[in-house]
C-alpha cells in the first residue's frame, strides 16, 4: 500500500522553504520526476527563494532566475537555443507562482502557448502574492482575505486552466500536493507529450498566507479537491477531458473553516461560495 512514485534526486535538502511548505513539496515531485536532463526557469517568487542563496542551489539542474513577467518567454528562449544546437531531449520547465502566471506573466505565457513552444510550464498556485506577504492575485478565490483585499476579494478566481485549454495546447492538467502520485504522474505525462506547451496548475496551499498549521498543507490541498473548490483533471489537445479527482461530498464550509483567510466569512458568504463552486463544477462536468 502507499504511493508509488519514482524519484530521481534533483531537489536537494537544505533549501529555505518554510517548514511544511507545499511549494517545496510540489517542487520535489516536479524536479524529481523531470530528472537531470532538464533546465528550469524560475521568476521571483518563493520558488526563487527555495532555489537557494548564491552560491548554492536546491536544484541539481541548471536554473535560470528570470523576471516576474517573463517566465514563458525565458523558457522558450532556452528551448529554442537547445533546438538550434540539435538538442531535442532536454526538458525546459518554467516554474512560476500564480502572480507570475495569472497576472503579470500571463501575456508571455499565452504567447508561448500560441506559438506552442516546446516547454513545460508549471504554475505553483498558492492563490496570491505570498512571497511579498499575502496580496491578492487574480488566482485569489472569492472572499479570501489578503492584505490588499482586507475585507475579502470581491471577484472569483481567474480560470487559467480553462484559458490554457482554450489555447489548444497538447496538455493541461490541474494537480495538488495532497495527491503526490497524481502530481508526479502528470509531470511525467507532460514530459511524454513533446512538441508543444504543456501546462500544469498545481495548487500549493500557503501555510502563512492561508492561515493553516505547518503540517496542514497536503490535508488542505485535499480538502480543496474534495469540496469541489479545485477539481483535479487533465485535458489533451484542448478537448479530451479526464477527471482524476472531483468533489466527494465535502462542502465549501469543510474547506474554508480550516483557514484563517476565510475566518471573516458569515454563513451566507459560505453559501455564496458554495453556489459559485457548484456552478463551476456543473459546467466542468459537462466536459468530461
Amino acid at each position: 500500500m502507499g504511493y508509488e512514485i519514482n524519484e530521481e534526486k534533483v531537489f536537494n535538502s537544505g533549501h529555505a522553504a518554510c517548514p511544511g511548505c507545499s511549494e517545496a513539496l510540489a517542487l520535489r515531485f516536479i524536479l524529481n520526476t523531470l530528472g537531470k536532463d532538464a533546465i528550469a526557469v524560475v521568476p521571483p517568487s518563493c520558488i526563487a527563494i527555495i532555489s537557494g542563496p548564491q552560491p548554492l542551489s536546491s536544484m541539481s539542474i541548471p536554473v535560470y532566475q528570470t523576471t516576474l513577467e517573463a517566465s514563458a518567454a525565458s523558457a522558450a528562449g532556452i528551448k529554442r537555443a537547445l533546438i538550434s544546437k540539435g538538442n531535442n531531449h532536454t526538458n525546459v520547465v518554467a516554474i512560476a507562482g500564480d502572480g507570475g502566471t495569472y497576472d503579470i506573466g500571463f501575456q508571455a505565457l499565452s504567447a508561448a502557448a500560441e506559438r506552442n513552444e516546446d516547454i513545460i510550464y508549471i504554475c505553483l498556485d498558492n492563490e496570491g502574492y505570498m512571497n511579498t506577504g499575502t496580496q491578492k492575485s487574480s488566482a485569489t478565490p472569492s472572499m479570501a482575505f489578503t492584505t490588499s483585499t482586507p475585507a475579502g476579494k470581491l471577484s472569483p478566481k481567474k480560470n487559467v486552466p480553462e484559458i490554457m485549454v482554450a489555447h489548444n495546447i497538447p496538455y493541461m492538467a490541474t494537480a495538488t500536493t495532497g495527491y503526490p502520485d497524481d502530481l508526479a504522474r502528470k509531470v511525467k505525462r507532460a514530459m511524454e507529450i513533446k512538441g508543444g506547451l504543456r501546462f500544469i496548475n498545481i495548487l500549493t496551499p500557503c501555510l502563512a498566507g492561508w492561515g493553516i498549521p505547518d503540517s496542514a498543507g497536503p490535508k488542505t490541498s485535499r480538502l480543496a479537491v474534495q469540496s469541489g473548490m479545485y477539481p483535479l483533471y487533465e485535458v489533451e489537445n484542448g478537448e479530451s477531458y479526464t477527471l482524476n479527482y472531483g468533489p466527494n461530498g465535502l462542502s465549501v464550509a469543510d474547506y474554508v473553516t480550516t483557514q484563517k483567510r476565510y475566518r471573516h466569512l458569515l454563513a451566507e458568504d459560505i453559501e455564496l461560495i458554495q453556489a459559485e463552486v457548484d456552478h463551476s463544477w456543473e459546467r466542468l462536468q459537462k466536459k468530461f
Binding site: M1, G2, Y3, I5, K9, F11, N12, S13, G14, H15, A16, A17, C18, P19, G20, C21, S22, A24, L25, R28, G52, P53, Q54, P55, L56, S57, S58, S60, V63, G178, P180, P213, D214, S215, A216, G217, P218, K219, R222
Partner: protein, 554 residues
Amino acid sequence: MSGTVKRVPSIWTTGSTDILNTGTWRSAIAVHEKRPAPCYGVCPVDGDIPVWVQQVRNEKFKEAWQTLVENNPIPAAIGRTCHRPCEGACNRTDFDGAVSINALEQYIGDMAIQEGWAFPAPSVELDQKVAVIGGGPAGLSCAYQLRRKGIQVTLFDANPELGGVLRYGVPEYRLPKKMVAAETQRIVDLGVEVVTGRKLTGADVEELERDYSAIFIAFGAHEPKRLSQFSKNDKRALDGIAFLRSVRLDAPAELGRKVVVIGGGSVAMDVAGSALRLGRQTEILALEGREVMPAPEDEIEDVIEEGALLIDGAMVKTVEDVSGRLLLHCIKVELDQNVLPGIIRPIEIAGTEFILEADTVILAVGQDPELTDWKDRVQVAKGMVKIDEDYRTSHAGIFAAGDVASTERFVSTAIGDGKRAANCIARHLGQLVVVEDAAVETKEVTFEDINTFYFPNQEPGERDKVDADVRIAGFAEIRLGLSDEQALNQAKRCFSCGSCVECDNCSIFCPDMAIIKDADAPLYYKVLEQYCKGCGCCLEECPRGAMGVKEEKK
C-alpha cells in the same frame, strides 16, 4: 582572435543547499514509534491485533497465526466465542464500523487446523514440573505457555475431554466440538501430560507438591446460582449450565413445551438457542434492559431471530404452581444508577406487573466456583479463590486464574489470565520472563490520530449467517467463516493503528526530504536531523498514528 583573457562572470551557481543545516530551525522532531492500538489496549489476551491483521493483509497467513498464538493458543475457538472488546474499541467503529477482528481470528484459526500447523517444540526442556488443574481456557492457556518455556506440565481435568466450558458449555452451533478437539490436541502435542476424568481437590495438594514445583488451579465455576423463588428440587426449574452440558453430551435434559429462560448473559442466550433447537417455545426474562444486558448484542439478536421472545428489564417476584405449570409473577424494573459498579439493584416500576406461564424455567443467572474442598488450602474471598496481582493464592506455590478466581467470566479473559499466570509461575520457578508492553511509553492511538483520507469507506463484512429457520432445525454452526476474499477485505480495512506498515507517507510528504528508508532503523525509517524543520507533515500524513513528536530544547 584577440589575446584578451575572458573573465568569468561572478555569479554562476555551482553548489548545493544540502550542505546547509535547516534542522536548527525546529523545536520538535517527529519520531517513528509503535503506539498501542485501542484493540490491543482492551484485548484480554494482550493480542497484537494490528500486527497479525497486517500479516493477513499481506497474505502471510502462517505468520499471522504465529503472532496470534503468541498470546492465544486456540484462535479457532476464541474466534467464535470472544466477547470482542477489540471491535468495540476499534477506531474504525465511528467511521464505517469496526473491523471484524473476531471473524478474522476464526479465519486464521480454522486455516491453521485445516493446514495442520503445529506449535514448534520448546527450545529447551527444563526439569521443573507444574500441575495445572482444569482443562478449560485458563488451564489450557497456562499449560501451553509453560510448555513453550520448556517447563513440564501435567494437565488434570475432571471431564473425559479437555476444553472445559468450550467443550461442555458453549453450544455446538456456536463452537463445533471438532474445533475444540483440534486446538486442545495441538496443545497436548506440545508435550503436555494429560490426566482426564480425575477431579482433584484440596486433599490432593500434598501429593501434588511432592511431584510438582507449582500448582495452577483453574477448574472454573460450576455451582449455579439459584433464585429463591424456585425450589432447588423442582425439576421444572433447571440450571443453565447443567442444561447446556446435557445438550453437549447429546442427552438433553427434559423440557416442557414452553420454556422461560431467566438471565441476560451469554449462557442465557445459549440456553435459549438450544431450547429453540429442541423445538421449544422460548421466552427470555432479563433483569437488565437490552442495551445493558451482559450478552453481546449479536447473540441476543440471534435468539430473537430464531424465535425467542425477549422480555428485558423485568424480574420474577413470585412463582405460582397452577396445575403443573409455573406462573411467574413478574414486574418491570429499572436498575438503580446510584450503586457501585458490579452491584445490581433493581427498582420495581409500580403498575407494570405481568404474568408469564412456563412448563420449564431455566435459570442462567451465573455460577460460582465450587470451593468447599479447597477452602482449607487456599484463602477464599467473595466466593472465589483469592489471588494477588501475580495470580498467587495464599498458599505458596499455588496459583489460580480463570472463573475460579475472577468475576470476569469471558473465555478470552481466561486465556489471558492463563498466559499471565504462566509467566508468574515461570518467574516463581526462577525463569527470566520479559514481557514487552507497548502501552508503557506511548499514547494509545485515537480516531483523531487516524488520517481517514487514506481509508475509503468500506462497510464491515461480518461472517455470513445461516437463515434462522434453517439454523433452528439443528445444531449446525450458524456463522460461516469468512471467505478468502472477505478475509482480505476485512484485513485491508484495518487502520493498523500505531503500527507502521511502511507506506512511505512520512517520507513522501516531507518537503525537506528529511525522512529516508533505512534498513537498519528499528521502525524502517530514519529522520535526518540535519534537515528536519519540524513541520509535522509526516505525522499528519501518517495514516495510522505510527509517529510521535519529541520536543527539543535548543
